[in-house]
Symmetry: none
Subunit: 250 residues, 2 copies
DNA sequence: AAAATATTGATTTATTTTGATAAAAACAGT
DNA sequence: ACTGTTTTTATCAAAATAAATCAATATTTT
């Protein structure tokens, strides 16, 4: 692996992890020696992108737009990455996809960064920032920056993009999936915009780490019988296969 | 295989891949020697299309690393911060403002992060990311992620937000301001969306670090007689006070 | 067709990058 | 403050890549 390539990977790593990596981790992930990693890190530090610390490096804080989304708490990162990998396997060349405001969608965005045949439409500003470093065709919804999560766009202007584009697939995730197959979430406005995505997409793919399973949230999004794929990181979701025979579980 | 044919293929390769290829890969894919590939690469580099790196080459426009953005934003950083501070002094409580896709606007956004009475409308995704960490009311345009700069939204969906909101002030910046007062920029789509901002704002405030002074770019944005304020980091702009008596220079 | 010019790939030479090692520095626990 | 461990820095030879050179081939011009 070349220096150039590594530097990009390192930045990417910092962005998708919590803004910090150890030298060791980088060695393992990038299959290279400590020396090289250290040299890369000093180079990146001189460019002002990262800050070396004892044992590793972190993204510089001053460029909050590069870092912004890292501050947000992403839980169950590993589960979400597994789900993202599975979700990726459903994609075909040339697909037009909606990615919702969930963090799981963000990890999917990360997986597809180099699939330049795809078109991504999203209201998730973390995804927008991330994919601004890719060659993908990206379309953002407009709208009001959600006052609750501050990571997505909502309101009428957010709806209009999804109303006017027909997607092959929508990938989405919410807070809760109850035993009876009701998918629900916590904020009304976000449910509304996600609904528009669901209505205007041929396939609906629900990304659901098993922690959500068996929980309930105030605002109903949809039910599993309207969903084509249910992707979890393990096999816990098979309980739905009886009640929803048409649902494909991955 | 002929030279220009190869060059085309190389560019094509860079565009469809990750924005980076190794010399080796090119040798294999194009069935030719390292020497030829290297010669092609140096030629393409001189044309300014690619940038050679150890082991390969990358697209120059390449967004694909964060570096490009940081470089851009770091250019004349102090001047831009001075301008941003001056611009901030024009703001009143409750103002609704348009911030354009320029990096100078980004620094203004940085200055106003704690003024929670303001409403910001922008097509600059860096500003969007930044202000997602603030308490400001923020509205984003929709649109296509610009393929050139990868830092802003363009196209019809970008226009519509600015068409439907009337702002108190628009803060904007472009590549060039010539001696005769013509403000111009490099990409047509960006000029267009900025135009909509200008049309729908009461006051028009041009942020212009003095390096832009006396230069010209292909696409005309507007002229100084349509501008209310011209803000620079020093006094170089006073030369315009005679020709444009209505213009306020800061 | 011959001459002039440009392009190619092989070879050699120079430069950059790499990984290993040892010594210095930073850290953690006592 | 001392000790053992981990991490950093500095250095160097080996490996990988780039640049320069040149004869052979291809292309264009005359």
């Amino acid at each position: 692996m070349l220096k150039n390539e590594r530097e990009r990977e390192i930045i990417n790593f910092l962005k998708t992890e919590d803004g910090f990596v150890t030298v060791k981790t980088l060695c393992e992930k990038l299959y290279t020696s400590e020396s090289s990693i250290r040299r890369d890190l000093t180079a990146l530090e001189q460019k002002g992108i990262i800050k070396k610390t004892y044992g590793g490096a972190e993204l510089v804080k001053s460029f909050s737009n590069v870092v912004s989304f890292i501050k947000r708490s992403h839980h169950n990162i590993n589960e979400k990455k597994i789900i993202a990998k599975k979700a990726k396997s459903l994609l075909r060349d040339g697909d037009i996809i909606f990615l919702d405001q969930s963090s799981t969608s963000f990890y999917l965005a990360n997986e597809i960064m180099s699939d330049s045949t795809l078109t991504v439409i999203t209201n998730n500003i973390e995804i927008l920032s991330l994919l601004s470093n890719s060659a993908l065709r990206v379309i953002s919804s407009g709208g009001i920056l959600s006052s609750e999560n501050r990571n997505c766009l909502i309101g009428a202007d957010a709806h209009s993009i999804f109303e006017n584009i027909r997607a092959h697939k929508v990938f989405f995730s919410t807070k809760s999936l109850s035993e009876d197959g009701i998918i629900s979430d916590c904020t009304r406005e976000e449910v509304l915009v996600r609904n528009v995505m669901l209505q205007n997409s041929e396939q609906k793919i629900f990304l659901c780490d098993s922690e959500k399973l068996g929980t309930k949230s105030p605002y109903k999004q949809t039910t599993l019988n309207h969903v084509d794929f249910l992707i979890t990181e393990n096999d816990n979701a098979v309980i739905f296969s009886e009640s929803f025979p048409a649902l494909q579980i991955m």
